[in-house]
């Protein structure tokens, strides 16, 4: 920057401020703001995207200024018929070369960013599988400093350690989906029959919202996801929670939750797995969703209450105030709140969690397809051989729902 006159400098500052307002956005922008990177991969994109918008905007302003000038200057005011000039070759060539030079200037950082984003090095691998209309995560091996000794299978909410490059291995069980957490990286399609990879890393603890972005049928709009980044020790706690033995939080015999366990085994366990759950005769209860669901999968509910939303991350388990409290929490406090989940803000000896949005879960259990359109009408399943796409209405009684909620509330 050499010798700009003060007025030009002022104007430049004005443009920058204006552009800042337009693109930087304020703190309360929509959570999927594509200009708010929260990790190195998204920042690589942002570093390319932002100048690109400035260049495009500048070129646009110049073109429009010229057009506006022409329209005012050469308006028909009764002047003579103009010279019938057919063009000026030097001008044509010049005005072809200028955009070519700009585009070469743009393409170099673009290609550099493409290869930079292809870096696969990582300290954690998580398998991500899409199906109509939710995401499943499958943790294996080591993740950052944390050893994961048994497989963790969860859904909708991807939990990752802060500051750790995580490689997602993405695929699909049915149609094409696309995994997108705008604050952490761009989109990557989930292709049935093959694997795609996407690297993510979060700078700070927090929750980063996303959405399936490849049209995937009836409830595409309600296939959401989030990435939750936790500091390494919180992540360790989360992993320990996930791997806790079932017997440690099995329902007390005779309690409402114990009846819920029986109802769960009767009604839900056909599709939904709860790890280490035993039937009354001591045999393991194994879900067989492939018999009932087209994708052959249903969310694993072993630790349902460690998540904050259900059904493709569409319906909150947290009440609205508690959700907002969690989302707005500063990074230092976030991990603690997240690990408390629905028990956030509750006294240590409370019997019911005050942050639990029971009504929503209750509605869901009553008739899931009424809340989220799914392909479950029993009269309409001939094309799928009787299997559903989504969760059918199980016609549960209110008593059964009470029992199930009591039981599920302990799945944390």
């Amino acid at each position: 920057m050499t010798a700009l006159s003060p007025s030009r400098r002022r104007r430049l500052a004005g443009v920058t401020v204006l552009a800042g307002i337009v693109f930087a956005g304020c703190a309360k922008n929509a959570p999927q703001d594509t200009f708010k990177p929260e990790g190195p991969n998204a920042r690589t994109i942002d570093d390319l995207q932002r100048p690109l918008f400035y260049v495009a905007g500048l070129v646009g302003l110049i073109v429009f200024a010229v057009i506006a000038y022409v329209l005012v200057r050469f308006k028909d005011r009764g002047q003579e018929m103009p010279q019938q000039t057919h063009g000026k070759t030097w001008l044509e060539v010049l005005l072809t070369v200028i955009p070519a030079v700009i585009l070469v200037g743009v393409s170099i950082p673009t290609v550099a960013a493409i290869f930079e984003l292809d870096d696969q090095s990582n300290e954690c691998v998580i398998n991500v599988t899409g199906q109509q209309w939710w995401w499943e995560y499958d943790y294996t091996g080591k993740c950052g400093d944390v050893e994961i000794t048994k497989p963790i299978v969860t859904s909708s909410e991807l939990v990752i350690p802060v500051g750790t490059p995580v490689l997602l291995r993405i695929t699909s069980r049915d149609v094409i989906h696309s995994y997108w957490i705008p604050a952490l990286n761009g989109k990557r399609d989930a292709m049935p029959g093959s694997l795609r990879t996407l690297r993510m890393e979060a700078d700070e603890a927090g929750i980063y919202v996303g959405q399936c972005t490849e049209f995937c049928g009836l409830s595409h709009a309600r296939m959401r996801q989030a990435a939750v980044a936790l500091d390494m020790d919180d992540f360790q706690t989360w992993v320990d929670n996930q791997l806790e033995a079932y017997t440690d939080n099995a329902p007390e015999p005779g309690s409402l939750a114990a009846s819920g366990e029986a109802t769960f085994i009767n009604q839900c366990s056909r599709c939904h797995q709860i790890n280490d759950l035993l039937a009354t005769d001591g045999t393991p209860v194994l879900a067989e969703p492939d018999l009932y669901v087209v994708s052959g999968a249903a969310p694993n509910l072993t630790n349902l209450m460690t998540r904050t939303a259900i059904a493709g991350w569409t319906f909150d388990l947290l009440t609205e105030e508690c959700r907002e409290q969690l989302w707005d929490a500063p990074p230092a406090e976030f991990g603690d709140l997240y690990l408390q989940g629905v028990w956030m803000n509750s006294a240590a000896d409370a019997r019911k969690p005050i942050c639990f949005d029971e009504a929503t879960l209750r509605d869901w259990l009553r008739d899931p397809a009424a809340m989220k359109p799914m392909f479950v009408d029993p009269n309409n399943l001939s094309s799928t051989g009787g299997r559903t796409r989504g969760m059918p209405n199980l016609n549960l009684t209110e008593d059964q729902i009470d029992q199930l909620i009591a039981y599920l509330l302990e799945r944390n």
Partner: protein, 667 residues
């Protein structure tokens, strides 16, 4: 449309008598519905293309108003998820295949023979076949609404979501077979127009004297010729999978869903240029006329159009940047996409420089043309931001992309088409559209487009994805960029556009009612189509004009004269004088095609076969029999109707008719 008096008074009077072979006679009606249904006149076919395309524009527009109503508030319930998916699929499909493409075909059909100084197209019956195929394809495709539901897989119809397992209604079958039929219409039209432009130009009309509209249409037709076969293959694969148990996209049997994406976009990207190049052509006619200057850099514009035609084949995978193609492919397609911005930029520069130094007359047509440059520039610039693949992985499948391609297709394509409406309406109907209403029409559409699609940039950058029936309230944010506000603006914008289009329809109606005729040369135009009557006679030109220059008509009106103050442009003749010269000595032999029964019959057989594929194979047999009979009829009908067969008989000599005395006809 009947009130428009679109027929000219002069019908060809073929002199060669032919033997009548029973049903194998040429139809001879010169008035009434038969004169339209069996016509092979490129002008009538063009008008029918335009009228039907306009109807589907209103259909597709109504669909999007429902979509915008649904999206005007969070978690809205105007449309169910199922209906919403059908609605956006049909909105895209209708607007692209049943509005923009056939509307471009309407302009091409009507104007190309006139602009090159020909009496008709090379294959008039094929031309009629193309129109009827398009009409029946459109009806067939939309009949899906009444047979259990419209297609619901999006206009891109990605596999495997389009398979019978995931889309069990017949909607996708209707989509596949309807587009297949529409594809035949496009192919037939493309071959016809290419042959016409190459072979039927008037004496002196060298390629580098072709009007730019004809040039851009020629490039478009070549794109169609090569792109349609690709989608045809893709559609065959999909329909064999859905209807005959094939497994081209069955992942369980080892198929790769990327196959469909490649095939679709190898068609789909050239398709973008198929949509906008005709509008480029229209604007390249309108701007010089109203700037009273030749197009700046004619050769650059022509060659950049051709360059777009070539480069358009090398960019398809930029629709697939999120598919995980690997960094090398992505880098290649990223750079090739930026490359195509160069010839596109050339056009914008040339259009602007065409106006530079001119004497600008801001008619409605000119307003639309200028707006087209502005809006298309916005679409082009946002396109460059998507060309950078890493940025595109944030932007793709969000409203930012919706904003981009609507600026290109509506801003670039539809605004050009409306410029064409206002510019050529006096040529086609013989009456001037009302300019005052036209201005209202223009401003409403221009403002509406910016409200609707401008706000979508913000929605997309705020992360609102496309194709979602609802957007949740908790994810709207609450700053200046909150999704709620901008979605409402977008909805208001959509209705503003609709109001503008409504004014156009009213304008057409009022114009048809009013008695005043348009002057012969209302805009002081430059190209050959203005050398003849409004509307042109059935044989277009009494005498095939001889061309001496680019912008032939203008140069017959004006001459550059040396004066003491330098060269001055002086009007030497009026349009009426030139017209009188041209009609004074009509050609002796005019080769005019006779109407035919068979194009509509043949076209009618294809939807029957298509219904048969979906519902009952017996219908396929019936359709095939009709097809076969129509082909026989087509081949066996005489090349020309007898002169005494016309009903009413052609005007006789000496009743004030200035048509040529002797006409020979060919089929």
């Amino acid at each position: 449309m009947t009130t428009l008096e679109l027929r000219s008074g002069n019908d060809p009077a073929p002199a060669t008598p032919t033997q009548a072979l029973g049903i194998f006679r040429r139809p001879v009606a010169t008035t009434g519905w038969k004169s339209w249904v069996f016509t092979v006149d490129h002008k009538k076919i063009g008008i029918m293309y335009g009228a039907v395309a306009m109807f589907f524009f209103l259909v597709g527009g109504s669909e999007v108003l429902l979509i915008r109503l649904q999206l005007s508030a969070p978690d809205n319930t105007v449309l169910s998820a199922d209906l919403y998916n059908q609605m956006f699929t049909m909105h895209g499909t209708t607007m692209i295949f049943l509005f923009v493409m056939p509307m471009a075909a309407a302009f091409a059909n009507y104007l190309l023979p006139l602009q090159i100084g020909a009496r008709d197209v090379a294959f008039p019956r094929m031309n009629a076949l193309g129109f009827w195929l398009f009409l029946f394809a459109g009806i067939f495709l939309n009949s899906a609404w009444f047979f259990g539901g419209a297609p619901d897989g999006g206009w891109f119809m990605y596999s495997p979501n389009s398979s019978g397992l995931f889309s069990p209604t017949h909607g996708v079958d209707f989509w596949v077979l309807g587009l297949q039929i529409a594809g035949i219409a496009s192919l037939v039209g493309a071959i016809n127009l290419i042959v016409t432009v190459i072979n039927m130009r008037a004496p002196g009309m060298s390629l580098m004297r072709l009007p730019v509209f004809t040039w851009m249409q020629l490039v478009t037709q070549f794109l169609l010729l090569f792109a349609i076969p690709v989608i045809t293959v893709a559609l065959f694969l999909l329909s064999f999978q859905r209807n005959f148990g094939a497994a081209f996209f069955d992942v369980d049997q080892g198929a790769d869903p990327l196959l469909w994406q490649h095939l679709f976009w190898i068609f789909g990207h050239p398709e973008v240029y198929i949509i906008v190049l005709p509008s480029f052509g229209i604007v390249s006619e309108v701007l010089p006329t109203f700037a009273r200057k030749p197009l700046f850099g004619y050769k650059f514009v022509v060659f950049s159009g051709a360059a777009i035609g070539f480069l358009g084949w090398g960019v398809w995978a930029h629709h697939m940047f999120a598919s995980g193609l690997g960094p090398v492919s992505v880098a290649v397609f990223s750079v090739s996409t930026m490359l195509i911005a160069i010839p596109t930029g050339v056009k914008i520069v040339n259009w602007t420089l065409t106006m530079w130094g001119g004497k600008l007359w801001f008619s409605t047509a000119m307003s639309f043309a200028i707006a087209m440059i502005v809006l298309f520039t916005i679409g082009g610039l946002s396109g460059v931001t998507h060309a950078a693949a890493p940025a595109d992985t944030q932007q793709t499948d969000t409203y930012h992309i919706v904003a981009h391609f609507h600026y290109v297709i509506v801003g670039g394509g539809v605004m050009g088409i409306f410029a064409g409406f206002y510019y050529w309406w006096p040529k086609i109907s013989g009456k001037m559209l009302n300019e005052k209403l036209g201005k209202w029409n223009f401003w409403l559409m221009f403002i509406g487009i910016n409200l609707a699609f401008g706000s979508m940039h913000i929605l997309g950058m705020q992360g609102q994805p496309r194709r979602m029936v609802v957007w949740p309230e908790k994810l709207t944010g609450d700053g200046f960029f909150n999704l709620g506000f901008w979605n409402q603006i977008a909805t208001w914008g959509a209705f503003t556009i609709a109001l503008g289009v409504l004014l156009f329809v009213i304008n057409v109606y009022i114009t048809a009612k009013k008695p005043e005729k348009a002057p012969l040369d209302p805009w002081d135009a430059r190209t050959l189509e203005w050398l003849t009557a409004n509307p042109p006679k059935e044989h277009n030109f009494d005498r095939i004009p001889t061309v001496h220059a680019l912008d032939e008509f203008f140069h017959r009106k004006y001459e550059e004269v040396d004066t003491p103050e330098g060269q001055r442009l002086v009007r030497v003749k009026t349009a009426e004088e030139i017209y009188a010269e041209e009609t004074a000595t009509p050609d002796e032999n005019m080769h005019m095609p006779s109407p035919s029964y068979w194009p509509i019959v043949l076209a009618f057989s294809l939807p029957i076969i298509a219904y048969g594929v979906i519902f009952n194979r017996t219908l396929c047999v019936i359709g095939a029999i009709i097809l076969l009979l129509a082909a026989f009829g087509w081949v066996l009908e005489p090349s020309v109707a007898g002169v005494d067969e016309y009903d009413p008989p052609p005007p006789s000599e000496g009743d004030g008719d200035d048509s040529p005395k002797e006409l020979a006809s060919v089929g």
